[in-house]
Symmetry: C2
Subunit: 583 residues, 2 copies
């Protein structure tokens, strides 16, 4: 693809996946890593590699002399050496040494980002125990004490539980180059990958949710199951964060964020100047992976499409465990039989506990199918507790359900998913009529929201609700209305989504007034009208609409129809056995 | 993943993509190929390779001694040597030497498949010129004369145009080991990948359409734009074909087929006992690629999910051209800027004309978006004619349209796509009412079908139509009916798809009879009812339903709504300028 040669400092799994992406583009990569058969080198035979420590000054110069661009798969590198490479003009360095240096010191990173207007949790420099105690007074307990340098996967962090705990934390972390961070009461941890070209152009990946256990990323869900407008906001925060970095900050960046318990405040936790664990899902789930886009960026080639190409994806880390390599193999072998799953093993020999040995990506047609698929793997993970294994085993033996309905154990999962259907009604007096729609959607495992939106009493709210519906992630709106019944049609006039109208029966005209008002829309703006008071059918229509493009729900609908037939067949049998007189 | 080592005979691009898949699973691969830096070896540094001809007996034995399983990336290998490996028990050979031998002789292949009941075009052995002439008499002209051995990418084929041409063909192909094949008047060329484990279990990929130029595969569309039931039939033919191969036929197989002009007869053209060019799209578009599934199969691991994970995909071959490597780079560089496109370059140096240098995969949310994306690349291909470039350039400058409508040049493409919407009506007398629905779908570029299905006059046809609709690939059914108007509701009772009902106004009750009959469905079976005689709105609802899961159509709907507003704004302006008296 390109005649330029890329040198990578570090040859671990991130380097390996960079090499894989580069090879597809026929881009030559040289790896600097002390291990001769490091993961990245195993899959590259184009050119000789450099088998030296990536902190070695001579080795870095040697690499630079045979490469056009140097990049990193780890930020804990000797930046002074990279500055020398830049200054000598031996090779380009992306991201620049200055950027890496800025990011590798988490306190400087915060100072820089804060000055650029990025929203951060409160923090304070702590060079003495007194400063730690002062932070405790200012932030309250618990708060987090962190090393400025070299921390990763939870190492270098200490949660200070109380004043009495402060000294222990201070000395545990070495008593120098520390800072304190106020604890953020967050509802979810989010992450976004952003890729930036040398000229500053950026492309932003979807927002994902990361699930940590013992400070190591365990699971990533894409897209994050949050309101679509919060997703947009988080993407903007991530885009702004990477855009504000100094010039020369080319390559892929991982931006980790907290979504505050308030449901909408997004704070930046930290950034990584390289491919990131939370972006591994992009290999299978996005049009262009984070790895290929990093290669493109450092070569100043056009950035690839960062959008999701599947409805839902998850990434599960495979860590070394107590039983060595079999802790790694068991979940991988299990996932070979899980539809939509892809195994990545990094070619590491020593499966010591907690070491990242590989990952499994799962893709699915819906968040519901995704949970079912990840459940099949999660119970096999070395780090899953026995209780978790038992719980998942119980859930799995309950699936698939016999009546097209989700199992009880799944309901909490579904409630945590971003709504696909919005049920709205003009007044709470319509709730008894509309409630069956909610019950049916729940039964089908369709995540939904239900609220009051009145065309006549809350016109601005209706306007806002309808206009934003598709941006927030809804696919169908069910609107119930009685009498003049303007709500469904007005909403349909404001959204490109399909709107299902339920005419609610009033006391005067038997609901025919609502029916005609809802169904007789002018050319150009359709409302899918169902029978008077028949909210059940509105929900079933919504399931059919979603199922048209999603096999999981199409199959559930087919099952539901079979169940209806079987239900009637049982009545027939009972009628025949009992006789019509006694029936 | 597995302690077994796989040896591959041949180190070209197929071997390269096999190595890529194996590395992800941490499976070691040794490549036998005379070229030291062959494409496959470039991305494998695990273990030493064997730099010898893959026809060399000693080299094959040497490879077998360090591998557990041998496999091939090309069928033109010395099978006698592989038999010796099998007999000596040096390594397993998948697919078995006997299978490769059977397939590499295309005449024996046909004899075997024919005996197993696989539907084939007529053929005849031709060892003499007399037999060639006899074939001409039997099959008529033109027919195809083919070499039994060693033919690929059109080499070894000769189209015999007339009796006078027979001798030229006979001698051109060497005058020995030939056979003749009757020309099949086909509407499309189809292909299916099938993977088989040593125990005989198979998994079948979707049906794709291959577009050949000069006997070389140029483009692959997945899924093939044909009726869903024909797709099912072709999948069954392919599955049966691979299933009937002798035991030991493990690995991935490509099955090339003709879809006869009659629209439903599927004939097997030939099979390949290895990854196939028509299956390259599976890397980006299916849950498990053909390459990974080949590795899984020869290691007797569970087979991966063969289903498509994106709505539509295409594969474009990048061939060497007159201008050398720049013929290769130009389309690749262009495609870096095309959303959904992924470039694969094989690491070959010499870009001689017609050589497969790489390929580009494109994924999309719909067949319409896919055509638009492939158009952006196709005009850059070295083998595109000037006329083609001009035609595509013209089309591209017409997009995107300003009124949410597809450009005229696209209409023929859309007509060739599998219908997403079925418009049905009880009688041709309903056509004037329903026609606007067809016109609107055409304007939006939604592929559709339109036919007469009467609940009362053709109940069996209605039953069959509704039952098969989702299997045939429809996502929405629009049914128009007047009077008793049972069609929409009865169809809804027979399909899990959303059904849109259009009440057609009769002469007696102003269509209120139809409206009530269509909308007042019992609980359990919804019909999305629109206004009386308002087929426009039915089509717009269908577009909204498809758009709920497909951004291309959602954006077109948003554009349509904007256009409506602008249209009214113009009228407002005219009214204000003209005044109400003159308006």
């Amino acid at each position: 693809m390109d005649k330029q040669v890329v040198g990578i400092l570090g040859g671990g799994q991130l380097g390996r996946m960079l090499v894989e992406a580069a090879s597809r583009l026929n881009v030559q990569v040289r790896v600097l890593d002390p291990t001769v058969q490091s993961p990245a080198k195993q899959i590259s035979n184009f050119v000789p590699h450099v088998d030296e420590p990536f902190t070695s000054s001579e080795a870095i110069h040697a690499l630079a002399r045979v490469c056009d661009v140097l990049t990193v798969e780890i930020e804990h590198v000797n930046c002074a050496k990279l500055v020398a490479v830049e200054e000598a003009g031996e090779a380009k360095v992306y991201p620049s040494a200055a950027t890496i240096q800025l990011i590798q010191d988490k306190f400087l990173q915060k100072e820089y980002l804060g000055a650029q207007g990025v929203a951060l949790p409160e923090y304070a420099r702590c060079d003495t125990l007194e400063e730690v105690l002062a932070a405790g007074d200012a932030f309250g307990y618990p708060f987090v004490l962190k090393c400025r340098l070299g921390a990763y996967d939870g190492r270098g962090n200490y949660v200070v539980e109380s004043k009495a705990d402060a000294e222990a934390g201070f000395s545990r972390l070495g008593g120098t180059m520390l800072y304190a961070e106020k604890f953020v009461p967050f509802s979810k941890e989010l992450a976004v990958m952003v890729v930036r070209r040398p000229g500053g152009q950026v492309a932003t990946y979807p927002v994902v949710e990361t699930v940590q256990r013992d400070n190591i990323c365990e699971l990533v869900y894409a897209p994050a199951q949050i309101d679509g407008r919060v997703r947009e906001a988080a993407m903007k925060v991530a885009t702004d964060t990477v855009s504000c970095l100094p010039s020369g900050s080319a390559g892929i960046f991982g931006v980790e964020m907290f979504l505050h318990e308030d449901g909408h405040t997004v704070l930046v936790n930290e950034i990584a100047p390289r491919p990131h664990n939370s972006g591994h899902y992009t290999i299978e789930a996005c049009c262009t992976s984070q790895f290929e886009n990093h290669i493109r960026a450092v070569l100043d080639l056009p950035l690839g499409d960062t959008s999701l190409k599947v409805p839902a994806a998850a990434m599960i880390n495979v860590l070394g465990g107590a039983s060595g390599y079999s802790s790694v193999l068991e979940p991988c072998l299990a996932s070979l039989e899980v539809p939509g799953a892809t195994v990545h093993l990094y070619g590491k020999e020593d499966a010591k506990a907690g070491r990242k040995m590989g990952h499994i990506t799962v893709v699915a047609d819906s968040a519901l199918q995704l949970r079912r698929r990840t459940d099949l793997i999660a119970g096999r993970l070395a780090n899953a507790s026995n209780a978790e294994r038992a719980r998942l085993a119980y859930r799995l033996c309950q699936q698939p359900s016999t009546n097209g309905a989700v199992c009880t154990e799944e309901l909490n999962d579904v409630r945590d998913m971003s709504p696909l259907v919005g049920i709205i009604m003009g007044s709470d007096s319509d709730l008894p009529t509309m409630r069956p729609a909610a019950q049916l959607l729940e039964q089908f495992g369709v995540p939904f929201e239900l609220t009051i939106v009145s065309a006549h009493r809350t016109p601005e709210r209706m306007f806002e609700y309808a206009r934003s519906a598709h941006e927030r992630g809804l696919k169908v709106i069910i609107a119930g209305a009685g009498g003049a019944a303007h709500l469904p049609g007005m909403v349909a006039a404001l959204t490109p989504l399909p709107v299902v109208g339920v005419p609610v029966k009033g006391r005067i005209l038997d609901g025919v007034d609502s029916l005609h008002s809802i169904v007789q829309m002018p050319r150009g703006v359709p409302v899918a009208t169902v029978a008077i008071n028949n909210a059940d059918n509105a929900a079933l229509l919504a399931v059919r609409i979603i199922g048209a493009s999603c096999p999981t729900y199409l199959e559930a609908m087919a099952q539901y129809m079979t169940d209806m037939r079987v239900g009637v067949e049982k009545k027939i049998e009972r009628l025949e056995t009992t006789g019509w007189k006694e029936y």
